[in-house]
């Protein structure tokens, strides 16, 4: 990932910042310039909750080169308490024991690195909510 993109997207990737439409209340994540529901262009920046419920998932066993050390790993979609559906890697669990409907928590993790010399990109991942 280019440093400029990491910098541009840090609000959503680091702080889970979403755009809430000031006209109809639609929550856009990642933030948008135009509301897909009502066409309005005024958004309030809100922070998404850091818990959710797993709606679905898939297990990646043949991973892209930057993720081979983590295979097999799961990618899931979780619904947050405000209805937002978020896609992220699900870590800290045995992929054979993942269940649709399980509670997840969002943690700050490394997303990818370019070998040992590139910039490190950080962001959000799901972990099982165990406390």
């Amino acid at each position: 990932m280019f440093p400029s993109r990491i910098w541009r997207e840090k609000g959503q990737r680091y702080r889970l910042e979403a755009g809430k439409c000031r006209t109809c209340g639609y929550i856009a994540f990642p933030p948008r310039l135009v509301c897909p529901e009502c066409g309005a262009v005024e958004f309030e920046t809100i922070k998404l909750p850091d818990i959710g419920k797993l709606l679905t998932y898939t297990v990646i066993r043949v991973a892209p080169s930057q993720f081979t050390d983590e295979a097999p790993y799961a990618i899931g979609i979780a619904e947050l308490p405000n209805g937002v559906k978020l896609t992220a890697q699900l870590v800290d669990c045995d992929v054979e024991k993942i269940k649709v409907g399980m509670d997840v928590r969002i943690e700050f993790r490394r997303i990818q690195t370019h070998d040992t010399h590139g910039v490190i990109s950080y962001g959000y991942k799901f972990v099982p909510k165990w406390y």
């Binding site: 680091y14 702080r15 870590v91 700050f108 490190i120 165990w130 406390y131």
Partner: protein, 349 residues
């Protein structure tokens, strides 16, 4: 009143047992377990580093601080010997992740295992002088020991974060002190992957001299004796040293045990004594006095005397307790997985 207004810790879920490491190197596990007085250590997975641990520990500290506005944090200092970048600060990423940018002073600290307590020391000074409203001090590491070296049995991962301030204080700082000399007991040169150490030289002239020097100095300054403290927290490079130095100073096992994490956590370097303080605060009562003494090779110790306030009862359960992170929901890994996680295997590029 100046002191801690929020504290939190974070520990990876993965662990490796002493037996698993000893098996690979043909070493005698019972000897290591007895010699180091530890049974296992935490292992960071590939997506976890000092920055991610720091962010999660800080989130817990913010919960206990009563959801203060992160923009009011005027300084962030992260102490670590495993900053992910050689050139580029860790603190900027943590500050941006918690929403504390841009009006914030930032520096990364290094002093072997003492860098976390340095951050605490400096933040207390800045708050006390009125330069900042809140200061965020973090000690965290994802420490590496060379394969087969004695350090490999203890080098672990974890972080603790403290928000220092002057309102809604959980633990007031009563005294600080420091004790420092040039003592080359442990080092890592530029571009080297693993640290070197002086074997037994890391004990008597290094850890014990400096830890006891700082502890005695601060108790003399405060005119206090070991019996005046409810708890004591010492740097814990293994399970044995903190208990031994505590007893040499006149503290009892009961005073040390709440902050004695290393037997099942390992050595979290810059996070070690700060994490011990978090688990001690988790069970402390208003009025309790806590002695904390860090140690960093090279060498020096920072000492703090804290007095817990009534507010501890309102905030301790606003975030997960350190012992819970230490003892529950663990995944034990084999040496191969550990070696992969810690990039000990050379792969084709």
């Amino acid at each position: 009143m100046v002191g801690i207004v929020g504290y939190g810790a974070h520990i990876p879920r993965h662990r490796i047992k002493v037996e698993e490491i000893a098996k690979v190197w043909g070493a005698d596990a019972p000897s290591y377990k007895k010699g180091l007085l530890l049974t296992q250590k935490s292992v960071p997975p590939p997506d976890t580093d000092t920055i991610t641990l720091s962010v999660e520990a800080t989130k817990n500290a913010l919960k206990r601080a009563g959801n203060i506005n992160p923009a009011d944090i005027g300084a962030i200092y992260i102490g670590s010997e495993s900053h992910p970048y050689a050139v580029k600060p860790s603190g900027t990423i943590v500050a941006d992740a918690i929403g504390a940018c841009p009006r914030i002073h930032c520096a990364d600290f290094e002093f072997a295992c003492k860098a976390g307590s340095e951050a605490m020391y400096v933040c207390l000074g800045l708050v006390k002088s009125g330069y900042v409203k809140y200061g965020l001090a973090i000690g965290g590491d994802t420490s590496q020991g060379a394969p087969g070296d004695a350090l490999e049995y203890s080098a672990a991962a974890g972080a603790a974060a403290f928000i220092m301030g002057s309102d809604n204080v959980i633990a007031e700082i009563l005294y600080t002190d420091a004790y420092m000399t040039d003592t080359p007991d442990f080092w890592r040169r530029e571009h080297e992957y693993y640290p070197q150490h002086g074997g037994r030289f890391t004990g008597e002239p290094a850890y014990f001299t400096h830890t006891m020097g700082a502890a005695k100095a601060i108790m003399e300054k405060a005119n206090m004796k070991p019996k005046d403290f409810t708890y004591a927290v010492f740097h814990q490079p293994n399970g044995k040293f903190p208990m031994r130095v505590g007893k040499m100073l006149g503290f009892t096992k009961e005073q040390i045990e709440p902050g004695w994490l290393s037997p099942v956590l390992g050595n979290t370097y810059s996070g070690a004594s700060p994490m011990g303080l978090t688990s001690t605060l988790d069970i402390a009562k208003p009025g309790d006095k806590i002695l904390m003494v860090s140690y960093g090779s090279g060498a020096g110790s920072d000492a703090f005397i804290w007095q817990v306030t009534d507010r501890i009862n309102d905030v301790r359960d606003k975030a997960v307790r350190t012992r819970k992170l230490l003892d529950e929901n663990l995944t034990f890994v084999d040496y191969g997985t550990y070696a992969k996680f810690r990039h000990k295997i050379r792969k084709n590029k």
